[in-house]
Amino acid sequence: MTRTEAVVTTVREGVAGRTPLRIAGRGNWLSAGRPVSAAKTLSLGDDSGVVSYVPGDLTLTVRAGSTLAEIERVTREHDQWLPLDPFGSDDGTIGATIATASAGPLATNFGLPRDLLLGLEFVNGLGEVVRGGGRVVKNVAGFDLSRLLTGSWGTLGVITEVTLRLYARPKVDRSFAVSLEGSEKSTTALLRTVAASQLAPFALELLNGAAARSLGLGDSAALLIRLGGNAPIVEVQLKALSQVARTEEVEQSTWTEFREIDRGAESVIRISTLPTRFLGTAASILADTQPRVVISINPRRGVMRLVTSGGGEQELMTTVDAGIPVSFPTDGQGAGTSVIFEKLPPEVWPVVSPSVVSDPLSRGIKNAYDPHNILNPGILGD
């Protein structure tokens, strides 16, 4: 029996007994998403390994239970990498990363999981094996099931295999911190300069005091930037940056620590909006010198993340408040802000957020792919 067949068997048993399944990778992120009521856990944590890797093609096909660390190890041997660094650790599985559409700082330059995924295999809620996309870098054959499954949180199918686009490892890859201890006005000026510049960083995050402190970058807000590519390209960018700010080189491991900033968090909220909205508001959000909420802003992606640990509902309201100037501006630009709850205390879920898949199309798709509601029931709300 192949490993995919084993998943098929489990799902079919679930269907036959009408026993819902909790789909799990290595279980690192199980507390995220809305509470799931399932009788049994279907774990893909052991279903790992390379299915096909021809380095010259810069594509990699792996089983969904492969960890990001494993992918890192395999690709590094050929001086390549998968530039996908979701929050959390590299101990997470690629299947879960795709299923939750989780991205991290590198998305600034390399895009979201949807941009790196070339094809996949999954088992739907009827226990059927389905493939979408393929193993080549460009493909429009058939409707796009790869995008459909990305971010579906396991509710449409159990992802068993994925094919990803790889990149060559940059010749140079360096990271720098800029302390934002000046006035709000000077911070805003700096952000505007960076926004208007030709800088093309691999990653760029603004950290509030709490975030900077937890990374050992001092007590003030800070800008964390990663520059990569060939030597001249890193050099010119660094020079340009140094002209407007005092930069201090930091270890690459700072990013690893940054991605683990959620560890033990009670709630994680992501706000996605037009990038310019942060130009005006970031400085004041970052100015709070005694912040209780850990905030990071990616001004290129137009994303702010708010992380709280403990404090329950009260703390949560503070968190949401911190996001308010950005999420509900009155600048007449119309809609275009999404507040995404990645993780909340279980008791808070029903209060703050209704289902995110309640529209007729989403319901129709769920019904078609998992008519018995066997897969992760409730994780996206009902």
Binding site: L112, G134, V136, K138, G142, D144, P232, I233, V236, G336
Partner: protein, 511 residues
């Protein structure tokens, strides 16, 4: 669903005219000839009616009328598609080229919202003064619409570095075949819930009409350098392509043209100054920050020289660059003049397999006595083998078809895909079962049924009807045998008329 034969065309035309005005409904067969093919002239299907809404509201009203009447329809942009996707077989064409408003441009956030009929190049010209560009650049950019690009998930030479349409569309307003209007995606870029925008992109007109599309814009690169490398063998050029990709440098574009293509282009009005005696050229573009580009340029030049390039020439200025690109972009146009019909494939293969697949293609062309020209997006492994021929010659047609089927087979066997950017449409529907299992095809049908439960939007395209479990269940409940479509494997013998022939060459030459 009302079968076309029962369609009271003139009554429907009258009601459509009430919505869009008399001038924008066509019902005479002679007028409809223009719409009987797309960019792939081998296929012809005569529509019953064509309607051209001038506003989004009109488009919605048209779709609602068709929904009320249960009438099937085919969305159409500029009709440059290369898979027969926009063909309407005795049903209604809903043409969207009049929806050409650029609704808003947000320079600072680098995004634009446009109506679906806006022509790709027009958007690019519109945003250029602000130092921005819209990255997906199909070679048909001068004519194709953003709506058509979304429907096909179009690519283009620069997609090697910048990604295809799906990587550049943030949100859409869509009218579903039921007439319901929905917003998909999010203008801010990220949202939770299912990626319905992602599901819609590449749906080839089967999920409804895109009315309004919000796209990401990209800052113009500081520097662009274009190289022309020529080779005395196809194999060397193929190996150099693989070597550049393997080096880790991501060129903005990496295009391939073989000897026969070079000679056709050079003897046409699009002559770009390619060396006529070369067996292959690579057109390589690098862009980004000046310092980085210069360093990469040296590496690429060296890879070319070591790989056997006879000459490596770098365009000195914009004029030279434009000329080099013109030859590439108009190559199909030049080819179209060789013979009345042109058939183009769009398979994608793993990039390490380029050299052996090109060799296989050559062997196949000899076996069938046809001339295959290769001009394609080599950096992505996206082949476009094409053959100019006359569909009026049954023997030649037969050989062309057999050669194309064999080429496709070789690409599939190499682990490739049947289409990288042109879509399945009518043209490649016969290959879908060669790359997808029954359950996979059924999952695609199920997705389509959610968007279009009555199967009225672009029926008969993309997924073979007989592989759709649910539909077959309905058919057998009605006592009908399961539905099987004709599945042409390549262009069918056409019935070219003098009139349509002219239109067609206009289309090709427009680019």
């Amino acid at each position: 669903m009302t079968p076309p034969s029962q369609l009271n065309a003139s009554a429907v035309a009258d009601r459509l005219a009430e919505i869009v005005g008399d001038r924008h409904v066509l019902s005479r067969q002679s007028e409809l000839l223009v719409y009987n093919s797309d960019g792939l002239p081998g296929y012809r299907r005569q529509p019953r009616l064509a309607v051209f809404p001038g506003t989004r509201d009109e488009a919605i009203a048209v779709v609602r009328l068709l929904a009320d009447e249960g009438l099937p329809f085919v969305p159409r942009g500029a009709g440059t598609g290369l898979s027969g996707g926009a063909l309407a077989d005795d049903i209604i064409v809903v043409g969207l080229h009049r929806l050409k408003e650029i609704i808003s441009l947000d320079i600072d956030n680098r995004r634009a919202t446009v109506e679906s009929g806006v022509v790709n190049l027009r958007l690019n010209k519109y945003v250029a003064p602000y130092g921005l560009l819209y990255a997906p650049d199909p070679s048909s950019e001068a004519a194709c619409t953003i709506g058509g690009n979304v429907a096909e998930n179009a690519g283009g030479p620069h997609c090697l570095k910048y990604g295809v349409t799906l990587n550049h569309v943030l949100a859409m307003t869509v009218v579903l075949p039921s007439g319901e209007v929905v917003d998909l995606g999010s203008k801010s870029g990220e949202h939770d819930g299912y990626d319905l925008r992602g599901a819609f992109i590449g749906s080839e007109g089967c999920f409804g009409l895109a009315l309004e599309i919000t796209v990401k814009l990209t800052p113009r690169p500081q520097t662009v350098r274009t190289l022309l490398a020529d080779f005395m063998s196809v194999d060397e050029a193929a190996r150099v392509t693989s070597a550049i990709i393997a080096s880790g440098i991501v060129p903005a574009a990496l295009e391939f043209m073989d000897g026969p293509t070079i000679r056709v282009v050079e003897s046409s009005i699009y002559a770009a100054g390619y060396p006529k005696d070369a067996e292959a050229i690579l057109l390589i573009e690098l862009d980004g920050l000046e310092a980085g580009v210069s360093a990469d340029l040296e590496v690429v030049r060296q890879v070319c020289v070591e790989g056997g390039a006879r000459n490596v020439k770098v365009a000195r200025d914009d004029a030279e660059r434009t000329k080099l690109w013109q030859g590439r972009k108009k190559a199909f146009g030049a080819m179209g003049r060789l013979a009345p019909h042109l058939i183009v494939q769009d398979a994608v293969i793993p990039r390490t397999r380029l050299s052996d697949i090109l060799e296989t293609i050559h062997a196949i062309s000899e076996k069938y006595g046809v001339v295959v020209c290769n001009v394609f997006h080599a950096g992505d492994g996206n082949l476009h083998p094409n053959i100019a021929y006359s569909a009026d010659d049954p023997d030649e047609s037969e050989r062309v078809h057999s050669a194309m089927v064999e080429i496709m087979r070789a690409c599939i066997d190499a682990g490739g895909s049947i289409t990288g950017e042109h879509g399945v449409g009518l043209d490649k529907i016969g290959y879908m079962e060669a790359i997808f299992s029954e359950t996979s095809l059924n999952a695609m049908c199920a997705l389509r049924s959610v968007f279009d439960p009555d199967r009225r939007a672009n029926p008969g395209k993309v997924v073979p009807v007989h592989s759709c479990r649910e539909w077959n269940a309905v058919a057998s409940a009605r006592g009908a045998a399961s539905v099987r479509e004709p599945m042409p494997l390549a262009a069918e013998p056409a019935r070219p008329s003098a009139r349509s022939r002219n239109l067609e060459s206009d289309l090709w030459e427009d680019r």
